[in-house]
């Protein structure tokens, strides 16, 4: 990653490398997902506290596993009817997870992203059980109170147990659709970070790094799934632009005005290779197509040299997989570059019913109106966009536009 490895980032990386695997193996051992997941969560909280002062131990996985098992024992002792699980936990020594075996986190991930759970719950549970974030960290990332987030997670886990949602790989006939759920959760996680972390947010956690890591985990575990490769390529490309996305004051810098020399060129080349690998399967999908669009932007030397016609064609293909209003809005931008702002504005205006509450709808309209010389209307649209976003970096940009 291009980001300097701060102490917190190193802590985060050490924890997420181990947490999901320990949840999965502890769950297998004690047979109770709630006990296993809570035990690991407590271990993560302990690790964050100890490791910050004492440093990261030589074998973080073993440290976490010992702590998690001790916590699981405590939790089981407090409950009755768990003698068998207690016995198994006492008898079996902590295991060395083989590096070459199947990734145990994958079934866990599919379970956490099960369509029977609300989307917000899938994201929160995945971050906790698979990536090893604490409830407090997740709450900060989603701008809700820790109590609200804790309740969301508890409810989701209760449903997993009560409705017996399998923490397992989906049956073959549901595989494609369930993989799409997993990739969508990962994508939403990244997006949340992409808009909410304005440069140095002062937080101890970069959700974008976590989402990118998760996309890598899925693509590695399922190397023959082109959409998994597509998502990894997409997130890699967006992450590669991260260093250029904010100015010194913390305001958002749009693609058009970014200093392209600050993009991570080796990451972009890596994403291009991922996309080539994905394309060889001849099974296009929405993540591959979005990645292809991002790759088009990444390969343009300047904004003016962008191949808008190619991008428009890719958007038309994307609409076949994802006809959502937001996709159509983005297509509207490309449409404007190829055929002019007047037609694009007409196209975008037709989305008003669906997108009136979405700040980027108004920001996009503002840009088109400005291009057409309709400055007053552009100002109104920008003001509306400003009233709809709570993101500080976007607010700074919009305020600058309004005062400029």
């Amino acid at each position: 990653m291009s980001r300097p490895a701060t102490a917190d980032a190193a802590l985060a990386a050490a924890i997420r490398a181990e947490a999901g695997t320990i949840v999965a193996s502890l769950h297998r051992l004690v047979g109770d997902f709630d006990v296993a997941e809570e035990a690991v969560q407590d271990a993560v909280v302990e690790a964050l506290r100890h490791w910050r002062t004492a440093g990261i131990p030589d074998n973080p996985g073993a440290w976490l596993q010992v702590a998690a098992r001790r916590n699981a024992l405590d939790r089981l002792r407090r409950r009755e009817r768990h003698e068998k699980a207690l016995a198994r936990l006492r008898e079996r020594p902590p295991e060395q997870v083989p590096d070459d075996g199947p990734d145990e986190r994958l079934p866990l991930l599919f379970g956490c992203c099960h369509p029977a759970l609300a989307v917000e719950a899938r994201i929160a549970l995945t971050l906790r059980a698979v990536v090893g974030l604490t409830t407090a960290q997740i709450a900060r990332a989603f701008l809700v109170s820790e109590a609200t987030m804790a309740q969301r997670i508890v409810r989701a886990k209760r449903k997993i147990v009560a409705a017996r949602i399998p923490l397992d790989l989906p049956p073959p006939d549901r595989r494609a659709e369930r993989l799409d759920d997993v990739l969508t959760v990962t994508y939403l996680m990244f997006n949340e970070a992409y808009v909410s972390t304005a440069g140095a947010s002062g937080d101890d956690r970069d959700l974008g790094d976590d989402a990118l890591w998760l996309a890598g985990l899925v693509a590695t575990a399922l190397p023959d799934e082109p959409e998994a490769l597509g998502l990894l390529a997409l997130l890699t490309l967006q992450h590669a632009r991260q260093p250029a996305r904010f100015d010194a004051s913390g305001a958002l810098v749009l693609l058009e005005h970014q200093d392209r020399s600050r993009w991570d060129r080796s990451a972009i080349a890596g994403a291009d290779r991922l996309l080539e690998r994905a394309a060889a399967y001849h099974r296009p999908g929405r993540f591959q197509l979005q990645a292809a669009i991002a790759a088009c932007h990444a390969s343009a030397a300047t904004w003016a040299e962008t191949d808008w016609l190619q991008i428009l064609v890719l958007y038309d293909m994307l609409l076949g997989h994802d006809p959502s209003p937001v996709t159509r809005l983005n297509r509207g931008v490309a449409l404007g570059k190829v055929f002019g702002a007047a037609g694009a504005l007409e196209y975008v205006d037709r989305l008003a019913d669906d997108l009136d509450g979405y700040h980027l709808f108004h920001a996009t309209r503002a840009a088109l109106l400005r291009e057409l010389g309709r400055t007053a209307e552009a100002g109104t649209a920008d003001a509306r966009a400003l009233s709809l976003t709570r993101n500080p970096a976007e607010q700074l940009l919009l305020r600058a536009r309004l005062s400029g």
Partner: protein, 122 residues
């Protein structure tokens, strides 16, 4: 693991279904029960309910329960029947629900609810 499948439909959309289709779906429903029963997945056939227009509700009132002439909610979608299934997990229950023949008609849904396990036979 036992789940109740609650079969719901929308009475105001009955008119959209022609007689031939309705009859065909009806027969498929019997085949559906036959197939899943033979596979040991039906714990209790449940019941097919009379139209919601025949429902009467007793609800809690001030002091004593009150009798109300109608269904318990004003929802457009109503429960038309239910069955109790016994399958390994939610994915198996959803797989069964997904093949419920009336789902190809408008306004139909199947609610899948786990049954509380009291430790004994239900």
């Amino acid at each position: 693991m036992k789940y109740v499948l609650m079969f719901c439909d929308t009475p105001e959309r009955y008119g959209e279904v022609d007689e031939v289709t309705a009859k065909a779906v009806h027969e498929e429903v019997w085949a559906w029960f036959g197939e899943h029963d033979a596979a040991g997945r039906i714990a209790d056939m449940g019941a097919h309910l009379q139209p919601v227009t025949t429902a009467t509700t007793v609800r809690s009132g001030d002091g004593a329960p009150v009798v109300v002439d109608g269904p318990f909610s004003e929802a457009k979608e109503v429960v038309g029947g239910f069955t109790v299934i016994d399958v390994p997990d939610l994915d198996a229950a959803l797989a069964m629900a997904r093949t419920w023949p009336p789902l190809r008609l408008p306004g139909v849904s199947v609610e899948v609810r786990p049954v509380v396990d009291h430790g004994g036979d239900m």
